[in-house]
């Protein structure tokens, strides 16, 4: 039996903050995403979304607990994990002084693709994402939308089975954001598992097969939109979200992580 593309067990991340002591950015997070599923991580700013995604993509090491990608523990073999993973964030993270083509070639080489195969793949991507027209200009001169397309091409260059997107539409204009949404949907058809974080409710509502609501480092609820509606008895996602957050606050103030004790 095949391991799920993404699974976390009791994932925790604690930061040392000189002013506030230990801060639990993520606490006991349990999550599982299936193949071909779009999973949305929904939460306000500072809820721990980015930390979770960074742990999954091996940039941060978990304090405790485990994160697995396709059955591989991120702490055991981060290289193998990175090889199977496409990561993308709202701040596109492109090298400003390189051209789009150079960036794609660079990452291709680092992924160990051989030259002929790499060239074919790059040409293919240039067409798929309509980058060709500006493929040889430096990234610093591209518009945000163009940059985002290059960034996407970079993330899917090695055709990863898992895509992790950190607030992919933040900072994009309307057209670029809708391009992004279309892209995420197209991935679902290709059978890729997509995990993305957002604080935009309409996006989550439209795209996600399942939604995880996260606040203050804890996963409050997981389920499809219908399940969440049923759980809270609210119609709109906005209300669902508010209900979930308030429920925790009133129910168990003692259960919140001892982060702010000072």
């Amino acid at each position: 039996m095949q391991a799920p593309p993404i699974r976390t067990t009791n994932l925790c991340k604690t930061f040392d903050d000189p002013k506030r002591g230990a801060v639990h950015a993520v606490c006991d997070l349990n999550l599982e995403c299936k193949e071909g599923e779009i999973f949305g991580l929904l939460g306000p700013n500072g809820a721990g979304k980015t930390t979770t995604l960074r742990m999954l993509s091996t940039i941060l090491a978990p304090t405790s607990g485990e994160a697995e990608l396709a059955g591989i523990r991120v702490s055991d073999d981060p290289l193998e994990v990175r090889r199977r993973l496409g990561f993308l964030s709202g701040s596109t993270g492109l090298y400003p002084r390189l051209t789009a083509r150079e960036i794609l070639e660079y990452f291709g080489r680092l992924h160990g693709m051989d030259e002929a195969q790499l060239q074919a793949r790059v040409e293919d991507l240039l067409d798929t994402f309509s980058i060709r027209a500006f493929a040889d200009g430096r990234c610093e001169s591209l518009s945000t939308g163009q940059r985002q397309r290059v960034s996407i091409a970079r993330a899917v260059l090695h055709d990863p089975p898992v895509l992790i997107l950190d607030e992919p539409t933040t900072g994009l204009d309307i057209l670029a954001a809708s391009d992004m949404i279309q892209f995420i949907q197209s991935r679902k058809d290709a059978g890729t598992c997509v995990l993305f974080s957002t604080h935009i409710l309409s996006e989550a509502e439209r795209l996600c097969d399942r939604i995880g609501v996260i606040d203050e480092g804890r996963l409050l609820a997981v389920g499809s939109l219908e399940e969440l509606r049923a759980q809270t008895g609210k119609e709109w996602l906005e209300d669902v979200f508010r209900a979930l957050v308030e429920e925790v606050d009133t129910e168990a103030p003692a259960a919140t992580p001892p982060a702010n004790e000072e």
Binding site: I59, A61, L79, T92, L94, Y95, R97, R109, L110, H111
Partner: protein, 442 residues
Amino acid sequence: MPTSRTLSPLRGALEVARKELTESLRDRATVMYAFVLPICMYPVLFWAILQGVMVVEGLQDRTETTLGIAVAGVPAEEHDTATEGLIHALSPPSEDPDEPAANSLKLIWAPESMDMEQAREWLTKDEEESTEEAPDRPDAVLFLDPLTILHVSTESSSNLASKRARGRLESHASDLRMEAADLAGLEAADLNPISVSTVDLAERGAQGAVVLASLLPLLLVVMAVMGSFFPAVDLTAGEKERGTAETTLLVPLARSSIITGKVLAVGALGMTATALSLFALSLSAEHLLSALPVAVDLSISIPTIAIIGAIPLAFFFSLFVSASLTACASLAATFKEGQALLGPVQMVFILPAMVGIIPGIQLTYSMALVPVINVVLAFRAMLMGQPLYGPYCVTALALALYAWLALRLALHLLSRESVLLAGKTLPLGRLLKTLRGTASTR
């Protein structure tokens, strides 16, 4: 899914270095710093200095100075016959009265007899106090009997006047002696019965190499540090600032490969900048020397051993410098802070280099273990044509070891999350904690 295979760590590091270099060379600022500045700075600087010296000399030649002549007892004018030769030597009559004479020294006779104390007052009195009868205050005073030149060392015109007076008196004395020797049937050489000359037994050109040895090692260290400084900040703190640090970490390479690649890129840029500065410096130094009116024979033959031996040292040293600077710069979150951080760190490299050029300190086995000083000393010894093979090897090994340690440090620092993705530069206390943590995890 396209086949992907694991790159060997070295291949990966080289790939990263190549990309970092491409990126750096695209940056106008880096290109200016690493290429244009080294090439242009020395020629422009030397030219400016040369022209400045010319202008200053030219102005100096045309500055007119005055020399007061004072004597005790006899009225000054009556001394005229006795000291005619002296006076003539001090102020030869101008050939062309219209043309202002160069290096002119106008003589002013003291109106009355003066003793030394009065002459002193004549020279130091304030302008305002001078009365109608008293002649102008001279720039310097020549007191006859005993012959004394009085000058005020804090006044530029006085220095100039006394310099001219001294030179003319000396050359007059030497003329008189020659004449007298001639009359007595002696040769000029007979007046100097003892002559001494020095014979340098070293090869031709060694003299130049020795002059070079006192300067070049320090210069090289400074250039290497300065050359690596900018790329080090750019590839670490600059990357954080540009928001690409995360992207870099996502490549399927071990972090050690990524960091080694960065260090290699920094080292390559630093070495290029050093080589170029050296090239431009030698080119324009020769130009400067040739432009001087006096012919300077500075044929420099750098021993072949120095050139061959310098290469491994330069390689390890620049690796050591770039790894250390990269490690330090990686603590900063923004370019600005990286810059502020590396300023003092630079000093840590340059100060020991200054110790290394003290004459008399030699490369011993224990000295060969001290970083920076060892490379300066080893290089100096080689330039002086006295390679010390044992300490040299120790130096090379020690440098390689330090380079490796610095690389490890960079690696340890950069694999700390708090350093790697820090949004702001760590405060000092926290930095120490991080470092301690690093040490304990080792």
